[in-house]
């Protein structure tokens, strides 16, 4: 999604101002001259200057581009789902993984992602299940990553060795 350079400049300007404000409120220990806020303040000031320069340049030379270019995922609802399912899967995983466990959560994410990408539902489910089990064996059984099991805790002993 491409936006006008003015917004890019404004983004950095605002973030830089926020950093400077935050840095100015950081406590300075009594015995030292330079506190933890010095370095962030330098970065924040730099961001304000660079952001202002980007914004100014985009307006003065009129080559900042369109105000907003329609991204390819806005072409159809299906395209939008194909795009947003990726970032949406991550908070979904964070919310659900602890209670439902890795295997089940991964099956849901894999299968639904395959399905929206045009794979037939049956194939999507079979692949989702198979890949989730392989990943579990690889990460939980072999590499000993403490993956959550959720309702499958009871049978986890069979898969962990």
């Amino acid at each position: 999604m491409k936006v006008h350079d003015f917004f890019i400049g404004a983004f950095f300007l605002i973030i830089g101002s926020g950093i400077c404000l935050y840095a100015s409120q950081l406590p300075v220990p009594h015995h030292v001259k330079y506190g933890p806020g010095v370095f962030p303040a330098i970065i924040g000031t730099g961001m304000i200057l660079v952001g202002a320069a980007i914004a100014f340049k985009s307006l003065s030379v009129a080559k900042g581009g369109k105000w907003l270019e329609r991204p390819s995922w806005l072409e159809s609802p299906k395209a939008a789902i194909r795009f947003w399912i990726i970032p949406a899967s991550i908070p979904f995983y964070m919310l659900v993984a602890d209670s439902f466990g890795f295997v089940l959560t991964s099956m849901v994410i894999m299968s639904s992602m395959l399905w929206v990408r045009g794979v037939s539902p049956l194939r999507a489910i079979i692949t989702g299940v198979a890949v989730s089990l392989v990943l579990t064996v690889l990460f939980a059984s072999i590499l000993k990553v403490p993956l959550p099991w959720g309702p499958l805790t009871g049978i986890s002993g069979h898969l962990l060795w």
């Binding site: 950095f12 991550i90 993984a97």
Partner: protein, 517 residues
């Protein structure tokens, strides 16, 4: 005294060789799939290597990245789709040879030049790194400060077409680096009461977000290609390679030298090495100037040697100073820290066997590349048949697991998502990643060396230029910025974001330098 027998035993350890073998297949497959880069192959390896011993872990990274950089040539030559951005420079030349029925020549040239480039730069690494390390032993915080500043300046310069956007990206990376406890007093910054933020955002989740998740978002609409592949049989592959190497040895040597130097410059990686080597070959080489098949071979071999040479070149600053030459060595450095090895000059003194074993792995990996690369060329038809619809969901699960496995917190899974979206927006708006990544890695080093120097000197800024070495580095940094600004003012030699347009494919992930004629 270095125990050479121990190094040999460590390199020829069957377990290590098995890991090299397995990761070579992995790297070759990832590199051969257009849209999946060498860096992505390394980022996705991290959750696996964190559970290995230090040397096998680094061997896995070296092998996967070298293989992926080579195998990016294969779809470039056969489909006109570079598998990784590093192969984009000579894709048209290689595809041209394929269309004239010489795919074995195109791929053989790429393979033998990659191997030669990798081996030559490994030699440079072995001979140059220890002497540099001896010099680095006398560095104080001032020298490290200037070295880090130099690294960041290079990163901005090679970052992309807009100097301002490169700077903005750099500052963003530096800002990410300040999240967590401050390196001097341990006071929490930008944590907003969240205990997960106390130790910072974590390099690996950020790299996975930038280089894997954002790429998934960008290629989310790419579900398949109708291309038919004419797979090259490798009957003649082994027969053409020796002749090619003999005829183009000068080009390969020049490409390897350029690649090693570019690789060692922070921020510039394999893709830039290939473009620069390609452009130089076209201009200065008698053979490289020709539009014939011979000219195309010279250019392919010079650029292909260069991109593989840059892989080892990046290990020079990484192992000697702890300053990564590119994002792959940034991962290597964080894996080294995870494993209790701290890169830097003292590593050469205290654990010379470890460091020489790591360097020797480059020889093993590059020699293994000859048979494995030939097999991959033969099996490329199978790789193309993997439907892209299946690849993205698997990579996403690997990203989630990668974010989780490194720190064992759901918080870092969230980080990869947020950074992925941020990276997607940055990429779409031509804000380059490389400066942000370098800023993130070098940020703590800059801040710590700056603050300790300031505290020691009680705010006297002159201390930064008092020592002769420090002053020399300061002059170099000022010179670097003068060059950047002069180049900007005269509009010459600037990297230009014009990617090679592969037909109906996922475009390559990084900005590339357009050849200037």
């Amino acid at each position: 005294m270095v125990d050479y027998a121990l190094i040999l035993r460590q390199v020829l350890d069957p377990e290590l060789l098995l890991i090299v073998f397995a990761t070579s297949i992995y790297g070759l497959v990832i590199g051969a799939i257009p849209g999946l880069t060498a860096l992505m192959s390394v980022a996705l390896l991290v959750p696996l290597v964190t559970f290995m011993d230090p040397i096998p872990a680094i061997a896995a990274i070296i092998t996967a990245s070298s293989m992926a950089i080579f195998s990016g040539d294969i779809p470039g030559a056969l489909l006109r789709m570079p598998g990784t951005p590093a192969s984009a420079a000579y894709t048209d030349d290689a595809y041209g040879l394929t269309r004239r029925g010489k795919s074995a020549t195109a791929l053989g040239a790429g393979l033998i030049a990659s191997v030669a480039g990798g081996l030559l730069s490994a030699c440079v690494l072995i001979f140059a790194a220890p002497s540099l390390a001896t010099i680095a032993l006398s560095f104080s915080s001032v020298e490290y400060f200037w070295l880090a500043v130099l690294g960041l300046s290079c990163a901005v310069f090679v970052g992309g077409p807009s100097l301002l956007k490169g700077l903005a990206s750099l500052l963003l990376g530096l800002m990410f680096a300040t999240i967590g406890m401050d390196p001097v007093g341990g006071i929490p910054r930008f944590t907003f009461g969240n205990p997960d933020l106390l130790s910072g955002l974590g390099l690996i989740p950020i790299l996975i977000g930038f280089f894997a998740v954002s790429e998934l978002l960008r290629s989310s609409q790419h579900l398949g290609t109708e291309e038919r592949v004419q797979v090259a049989g490798n009957q003649s592959l082994f027969r053409v390679m020796p002749g090619l190497l003999r005829r183009h040895k000068v080009g390969v040597l020049r490409g390897s030298a350029i690649g090693t130097i570019i690789g060692a410059i922070p921020g510039a990686g394999a893709d830039i090495a290939a473009w620069i080597s390609y452009a130089i070959t076209r201009r200065v080489s008698k053979l490289g100037r020709l539009d014939s098949d011979e000219g195309a071979q010279e250019r392919i071999m010079a650029a292909s040697a260069s991109n593989n040479a840059s892989v080892a070149g990046a290990y020079i600053p990484a192992t000697v100073f702890g300053i990564p030459g590119d994002a792959i060595t940034a991962i290597v450095i964080s894996v080294m820290f995870l494993k209790g090895i701290s890169p830097g000059p003292t590593l050469f003194l205290r654990h010379p066997e470890t460091i020489y074993t790591i360097f020797s792995i480059f020889f093993v990996a590059n020699l293994v590349m000859i048979p494995m690369g030939a097999l991959c060329i033969r099996g490329f038809g199978l790789i193309v048949r993997i439907p892209p619809a299946y690849i993205a969901p698997i990579i996403l699960m690997f990203c989630i697991l990668g974010g989780f496995a490194v720190e064992n917190t759901l918080f870092s899974v969230g980080v990869i998502g947020v950074i992925g979206l941020l990276g997607y927006m940055m990429e779409a708006n031509e804000v380059p990643f490389a400066p942000a990544v370098l800023g993130l890695i070098l940020g703590p080093m800059i801040e710590q060396s700056f603050m300790t120097t300031m505290l020691k000197s009680q705010g006297n800024l002159m201390v930064f230029v008092e020592r002769p070495l420090g002053a020399a580095f300061a002059v170099a940094a000022v010179l670097a910025w003068s060059v950047i600004l002069l180049a900007k003012a005269f509009g010459r030699g600037r990297p230009d974001e014009t990617a090679l347009p592969p037909r109906g494919t996922i475009s390559t992930a990084h900005p590339v330098i357009k050849e200037t004629k």
